[in-house]
């Protein structure tokens, strides 16, 4: 089977595609650091140490986030979080923090370059994301601040609803090219703008 959109790549760079006014906005979401924090908050001194190091209460309810701009902590699992910084000064001294967390019974891994981040906004964002992901993105079940790990087509993706208007997602770098194309093609039905990158 051939697909007339299979080899199209010219609708993945900054510009407007499809219908106007567009129903979707896409952009790269930039961040300066992304660290995977692991540990058991119920076992001292990890929890206290982690909250002290990042000046942030780690979200412990499943699929929730904590945000203290420019830092966001996303819940990945009962003992795993992703701490994302959108400004360079917000996450520094990796080795010292790693050592402190190791000493406190936890771990800290630098995964900054592992993922590419994208922002998806606009009135049709929920529908467009749902083309390649089985999650329910409606605000009633995916409220502001919710995050969840699922798929974008064949590829793993981490979704995060920053606010009513804006989703941010992370996809592993090596898969990003195909995944971005999937996202653009999904958006084509409603028309979309690809905007210049902006902060996570």
């Amino acid at each position: 089977m051939s697909d007339p959109t299979a080899n199209v790549t010219d609708w993945t760079s900054v510009g407007r595609y499809g219908a106007s006014p567009p129903g979707v906005m896409l952009a790269e979401a930039t961040f300066t650091a992304a660290w995977n924090l692991q540990g058991d908050t119920s076992r001292a001194p990890f929890g206290g140490e982690a909250n002290r190091l990042f000046d942030l209460a780690l979200p412990t309810a499943p699929n929730t986030t904590a945000r203290r701009a420019p830092l966001t902590a996303l819940w990945l699992g009962p003992t795993s979080w992703l701490i994302v910084a959108s400004e360079a000064h917000a996450l520094t001294d990796f080795a010292a923090k790693r050592d402190a967390l190791n000493a406190a019974g936890g771990a800290l891994f630098d995964v900054t370059a592992s993922s590419i981040g994208w922002s998806v906004g606009g009135p049709r964002a929920e529908t467009v994301l749902a083309k390649s992901c089985p999650l329910d993105f409606h605000a009633r079940s995916f409220a502001d601040g919710v995050c969840a790990q699922s798929v974008l087509g064949h590829v793993n993706a981490l979704y995060y609803r920053r606010n009513t208007e804006l989703f941010t997602m992370l996809v592993a770098r090596s898969y990003a090219r195909g995944a971005w194309k999937t996202l653009c093609r999904s958006a084509l039905q409603y028309g979309y703008d690809v905007l210049p990158p902006f902060a996570f």
Binding site: S2, P4, G18, N102, T112, A113, T182
Partner: protein
Amino acid sequence: MTQSHRLPEGGIVDRSRPLRFSFDGAPYEGYAGDTLASALLANGVHLVGRSFKYHRPRGIATAGVEEPNALLQIDVGARTEPNVRASVFPLREGLVAASQNRWPSLSLDAGAVNDVASRLIPAGFYYKTFMWPATSKAWLRYEHVIRHAAGMGRSANAPDPDHYEHQHAHCDVMVIGAGPAGLAAARAAAMTGARVILCDEHPVFGGSLVGASAMVDDGPAAAWIDATTRELKGSSLVTLLLRTTAFGHYDDNLIGLIECVGEDSADGAPRERLWKVRAKSVVLASGAHERAIAYANNDLPGTLLAGAARTYIDRYAVRPGSRAVVFTNNDSAYAAALALQRAGVAVAAVIDPRPDAAIDGQWPREARAAGLPIVPGAAVARAHGRLRVRAVDVVPLSGGAGRRIECDVVCVSGGWNPAVHLFSQARGRLRYDAEHATFVPGSALSQMTPAGAANGRFGLAAALDDGHAAGIEAAYRAGFAAASAPQPPRAAAIATGALQPLWSVPTTRKGDKRFVDLQNDVTVADIALAAREGYRSVEHLKRYTTLGMGTDQGKLSNVVGLALLAEVTGRSIPEVGTTTFRPPYSPVTLGAIPGHATGKEMEPTRCTAMHDWHAERGARFVNTGLWKRPHSYPRAGESPDDAANREATNVRSRVGIVDVSTLGKIELQGNDVAEFLNRAYINRWDTLAVGRCRYGVMLRDDGMVLDDGTTSRLAPTHYLMTTTTVNAVKVMQHLQHLLQIDWPELEVFATSVTEQWAAAALSGPDARRVLAKIVDIDVSNGAFAFLAVRECRVSGANGEIPARVFRMSYSGELAFEIHVPADRGRAMWEAVIAAGEEFGIMPYGTEAMSTLRIEKGHVVIGPEADGRTTADDLGMGSLVNAAKWCIGKPMLARAALSAPDRWQLVGLTAQDGAIMPRGAKIVADPDHALPNPMLGHVTSWCWSPNLDAWIALALVANGRQRHGETLWAVSPLANAKVRVTVGPPCFIDPEGGRLRV
């Protein structure tokens, strides 16, 4: 022809938008809003195809998805599609349609000889007739002829030019069907604040109300449809989908929908969209299908269901003929008779088996008042005509002489079957409703509420009422209740007389065909034959006669067929029961199921950070797992193999660089990592110092080699493990399983950093000189020994890049692995290339890398470690630490694993300049009588440009004791036998001096 049968007004067609189309080469015209069937009927065309088995002329029988006859070939070339139901296919400009299953033409079809010879080919004939003579495999020859004669249209033999997409959706209430019940349900559910999806297979809302003259809420039905859909459209919580069929119900209320997006959408839009809807609660308002009555020649073109005739008149403003006979056992067809009369069709008679006194519902009374001639207590016994019905014989059921009535249209109604398909798929049980002589939902389902005609609640007033209640109930089940009870829409109830079951009209003439299943040419006689031959189960009946198979899945025929089976086997209809309803409810385009996951997108592609650089240099890529890796970098006029040999030679003589970003990388932290590694690997890890690396081998529980790689200690409690490219995920899962299930007490945390680091291996005698130019650390042998790791900064044209450099070697040369954050991978690579230019650096691909490792005797997980080999078989037995336990170690004590004839890793060199055959096995004597005892097999082989010979790695019985022996590598497939010398697996620098300089 110019729409000779189009009514001057009415219907929902847009008379300002004429559309031209062709059928069997003849040009016609219809209007926007027509289906292909309504446009053909508007031009007086009834004959549209030949039947599957007997090649009998067939016309348009229905106005919906249940169409058994009007299956046409649509379009030409790559877009051509067979078996398209004209009754639902929307007309479009320039449409090319053709009839199927006829030769040389539709009106004169050679295959019709089957009809004459039908006594030779009764139901199930192919199970019996063509088995004779038993000894000669005659079936194989018959089959060829039968295959040629059967079948309907032709599928395209070019790739599908269209594409299809998927859409997931979630809702509280999914309403299937937007007729009066569905609209009322959606409206009631939406009022509670529930998220609602409403779908309908038609291009307009309203179902049976479209074009009808009924009144709802004291106004015209059209106004109510308009107001209701406008109200629904105004809610952000409601999704309305037209031309969208709910084709299947799956576990946990997953509903499959297929949406026809259509060819007239924006460029690049998909042809169809497959919806996967997860609904908390479902309202099934899918309506009902009318059924026919079997009488002789009831398949002649011009014969259609009474409800369909009414639909063609009301919805499409098409007059189905000039003179009609209506044959019905229930009141609904009287409404059709009245519509026929209004449309200017002469109604010659309404034939009704019921006694005169029983024909007293509101519609029969109106028919009488309108002067329609009603013939009670009678039936149509036979139709006459060749390519179109010309007359019918009407007989009194009490006996006596019949009479012939001229007509060009026969409108039949044998009653209505609720469309319970999805209810049955959802595991709802059906109940036989004697009043309507049909199966209706008979059990309550917590997740699905049938409503309206689908629930056996016939008539507009009942449908509105039932739909409204179902909408409230479904919303309630999803957790929503209205603040105040909304009023249901109202319509006047119509008094209806009871139906009198009539499945077939008896015939005395031999050879008469009374069709039950028009699509599969199954007759009343076939069902009787099946029963006589012992096929008493309705499932057996279906398989023996093909009743209810095909694109319509017996929507007209199933209930009639099982009722006839009940009659001939002397059982009640509920005793016979129904066949199982399975998805899909109606045909689904195959391409919609994979959506975009076809061709290159069948699986995702992974690219390293340096991918574009490789591509720009003309690299030929090879798939390793999902990754694209450069196989080699051929220059102009150079073959990929020559390029690989050049690259491999350059590594041994000067310096090369290879992209190894695809290796699995796992970081481990915690106070117990060394203990964890001790348990997972065969060798010791508690002795590894910070800043050092070590090669390790993991075993499976059964002692066989699982994976290998290096692990480096980056900080006291921080390690980096590498795995093979293909096993990256498997090893990560293995470690997580051990940490979470087996040894949760260990304080070890793991995360995959495969994506984090881009990596390149710099190999060759000049590797150090290249590296020294770009890093800010001392890389001399004294400061940076073999198997050490250092953190440093790589500087290049694009600034400084933080890096981890490992001194380790896969090629056997002086080598360094440079890891940098993936976003800087290309910058690092280009810095190395620039620094290496003066030393003649060349990039090398996986092929040269493979040559270099075969020359060094390094094993690969897969070819050598094939799941049957131990560490000792691979020459690494000494790595198994005697002092500690590890996974798989206890199993190594099995006697078989130290048997003297174990296959062990050796190196082979081809003699006499011969080429090592692929996939060769190793034997002592190539000319030994078969079966030739096998001593082992070649696992990896290559031309070694550095040894100027074909070499191989092989697993050979007792191989380590055979060094110096001459054996044979033979390949019966390639008809090759090559004399080989057995030796140690490492061909170059076995002492490892080159990599330690």
